[in-house]
């Protein structure tokens, strides 16, 4: 076929799109800033709603990428376009030194994904200061390690708090959008904690629970009816640390209209999505448009959701906003299909 594609970003969306195009015979190069592909999924233990192993999904996706050329440890410094050919100039880590390299292709897929909200920015929650305040991502790493979930003092947490919407729907930190997947992640993690420690009590503090997809609501019911998890409608106001390391939390139970102060042994902050640090620079190099939230705007939110508005440049995954793993995979396949269509048309135009 002789046509080539560069995929920027080696998370689940970038991997899926790259694999699909390679299997169709295109020459595909995937550029990843980290030393390993897999993005956030690589650090996750189990996925909602069925709690299947994240590693299984990653393994499946990785197997589909056998013919993809993967360049790791990449730092992109320049992207140019000339005569329908893109040139990406990068720095590459090689044995401790940075080498300059160039990649060329007929199309680009931007899959720079997302970063997790930096929980430290909610200063009043004490992440990075109080030892027993962790994030949902930290919890997944602990789940994945198989070593159990213990407090910083090495004890089984008897009382666990889970805080929804940390860094999402929060005007104070400048993020008005919903990160979409945290609600069900919080429900999943609450169940997993109860499975691990049936004698512990788990409290979930939420604004409202957005169980938007199939089997999510059922999971929420299971959490309440089977596992006895307490869901309290109220946002966390602030945290403090007791002499024994336990965490004092202040919130309001908005259904009873009463302020609430309680102590938990472990507090989990459900951190949301923010645009990846690399998105803004890549967007600037290509001329992509971003919204006030920092995510990249597609050409049309309904019918051209994978198009960027720039010929030959396609978008997929969380670069456009929060998505679940399932949605990222479906979106990547759509982006790959449109990229293939563009390259085929391009061949015909030049035939």
């Amino acid at each position: 076929m002789g046509k080539s594609v560069i995929v920027i970003g080696g998370g689940i969306a970038g991997m899926t799109a790259a694999g699909m195009l390679a299997r169709q015979g295109y020459e595909v190069t995937l550029l990843e800033k980290e030393n390993e592909t897999g993005g956030h999924v690589a650090h996750w233990d189990r996925l909602f709603p069925d709690r299947r192993k994240a590693s299984e999904v990653l393994e499946f996706t990785g197997e589909g990428m056998k013919d993809v050329h993967v360049a790791r440890g990449i730092s992109i410094s320049r992207i140019t376009r000339q005569n329908n050919e893109f040139t990406v100039t990068c720095g590459m880590q090689d044995a401790g030194s940075v080498m300059k390299s160039h990649f060329t292709a007929n199309a680009l897929i931007v899959a720079t994904g997302f970063d997790l909200f930096e929980a430290r920015r909610k200063e009043e929650y004490g992440y990075g200061i109080y030892n027993n305040v962790i994030t949902s991502a930290d919890l997944e790493v602990k789940f994945k390690s198989g070593k159990g979930i213990l407090t910083a003092e090495g004890k089984i947490p008897k009382r666990i708090g889970i805080i929804h919407c940390v860094g999402s729907r929060d005007e104070k930190v400048g993020n008005l959008y919903c990160s979409k997947v945290c609600c069900v992640t919080g429900v999943k993690q609450a169940i997993e904690l109860k499975e691990m420690y049936p004698g512990s009590v788990v409290f979930s503090f939420y604004m409202d629970l957005r169980m938007y997809d199939r089997n999510f609501e059922e999971l929420y019911y299971e959490a309440q009816q089977k596992w006895g998890i307490s869901f309290i409608r109220g946002r966390l106001s602030e945290c403090a640390e007791n002499p024994d390391g336990s965490i004092v939390i202040r919130t309001e139970d908005t259904l009873t209209g009463k302020p609430l102060k309680m102590t938990v042994d472990l507090l989990v902050l459900l951190v949301g999505f923010v645009p990846a640090a690399g998105t803004a620079s890549v967007a600037g190099m290509i001329g992509l448009k971003t919204g006030t939230d920092g995510f990249v705007n597609p050409a049309d939110s309904h019918i051209q959701n994978n198009l960027s508005g720039i010929p030959g440049v396609f978008l997929t995954g969380a670069v456009k906003g929060p998505v679940s793993v399932t949605e990222a995979i479906a979106d990547a396949r759509a982006a790959a299909a449109l990229t293939s269509e563009y390259l085929t048309a391009s061949i015909e135009e030049h035939a």
Partner: protein, 355 residues
């Protein structure tokens, strides 16, 4: 607790503080509460070679009236404008306030004018019509604790004493309490931000003490305007202070350091009131926890006589702190005025250990 986590936040909130040539405005209440604090600030500033100018015709900023819904914002802004006019007329550009409520109000007014220039123009007209004055806005606005924070090393270098137990060498364990209007309204205007302010922590660290964080650190000192100013609400005031004392007690603090007019007043006076009401004391062996302002503490470490600092009018005796640091004092002179005449002596509390 990980202090390095706090340091990351402190790095995010560094404010510019002028190094010299300050126009100083006093608090309307502090001289009644802690009569030596402002005088002490002026004393060490002079000794450190800094130029601080005062105009005796400056007035209240009206902040307490404003926050009590007695003084309308437009009136408060015009009074603030007059203070700025006095600064302008004196040829100064660095405005320093003694009071936290004032600092908050000045910050609020400047921020309002920044976002709504038409309001600033309206206030300029009000001031001109009422007084004939005009003003230039300050180039630098700081609270006096900001200035003391900036000079903390110079104070330390000039000091006679360290904030350590002179017998054991252990750091004095200090609870710091920041006035609400210092940075809670505008975190970027306070050293260290709103959640973990660094302004007093920096002084304590520099002067040798150990900072105690405790669960109710952010809780109200007990002033909170309406909960004290409205007499019927005073139960809220003392219960707020009590909540703090109960929370800090397990950490065995030896000193409470403050930077606001209201906080030292209530953290000091209510310890006495609680001891009379319940027989509860919060220091060692029936003592209270001494409460001082940052000016008083700087003065103590610089070797000023404790009675010149006005520490004898504190309700919680400060002698345990002086003994630990090794600061000499004459008990016989505690209640004598400058001429050596007796000022009268308060009745001894029932439970709180008195000296």
């Amino acid at each position: 607790m990980k202090v390095e986590g706090k340091r990351l936040i402190w790095n995010d909130y560094q404010k510019e503080i002028a190094g010299d040539n300050y126009f100083y405005v006093r608090s309307c209440v502090r001289q009644n509460f802690f009569p030596g604090a402002e005088k002490t600030f002026l004393r060490y500033m002079k000794e450190l070679g800094k130029d601080v100018f005062e105009n005796p015709s400056h007035t209240t900023c009206s902040g307490i009236g404003y926050h009590s819904d007695i003084v309308p914002f437009e009136t408060a802004m015009t009074m603030v404008a007059r203070q700025f006019a006095l600064m302008t007329e004196a040829g100064y550009r660095n405005f320093v306030t003694s009071c936290i409520t004032s600092f908050g109000l000045y910050s609020e007014v400047l921020e309002t004018w920044h976002h709504f220039p038409e309001i600033e123009e309206k206030i300029r007209v009000h001031l001109k019509n009422a007084t004939g004055r005009e003003f230039v806005k300050p180039e630098n606005l700081a609270h006096a604790s900001d200035v003391t924070f900036k000079l903390r090393k110079e104070i330390s270098d000039a000091g006679k004493y360290r904030l350590v137990n002179h017998v054991t060498g252990a750091p004095i364990r200090v609870v710091e309490h920041i006035g609400c209007h210092y940075s809670r309204m505008f975190p970027s205007k306070g050293v260290g931000g709103a959640e973990y302010p660094y302004v007093l922590v920096g002084m304590i660290e520099e002067w040798g003490g150990e900072v105690i964080d405790y669960p109710e650190r952010r809780h109200c000192c007990g002033f909170g305007f309406r909960q004290y100013l409205v007499k019927a609400n005073r139960g809220y005031s003392i219960s707020a202070s009590k909540k703090k004392f109960d929370s800090m007690k397990p950490y065995k603090p030896e000193l409470i350091l403050t930077n606001c007019p209201g906080c030292p007043m209530f953290l000091d006076r209510w310890q006495y009131a609680i001891s009379e009401m319940e027989g509860t004391t919060y220091g060692e062996g029936g003592q209270g926890i001494p409460v001082v302002t940052y000016e008083e503490l700087a003065g103590l470490l610089l070797g000023y006589d404790p009675w010149d600092l006005g520490l004898q009018v504190h309700q919680v005796p400060v002698e345990p702190l002086l003994d630990k640091i090794g600061i000499p004092y004459d008990p016989e002179k505690k209640f004598l005025d400058k001429e050596g005449n007796s000022m009268g002596q308060p009745k001894s509390p029932t439970h709180l250990k008195f000296y």
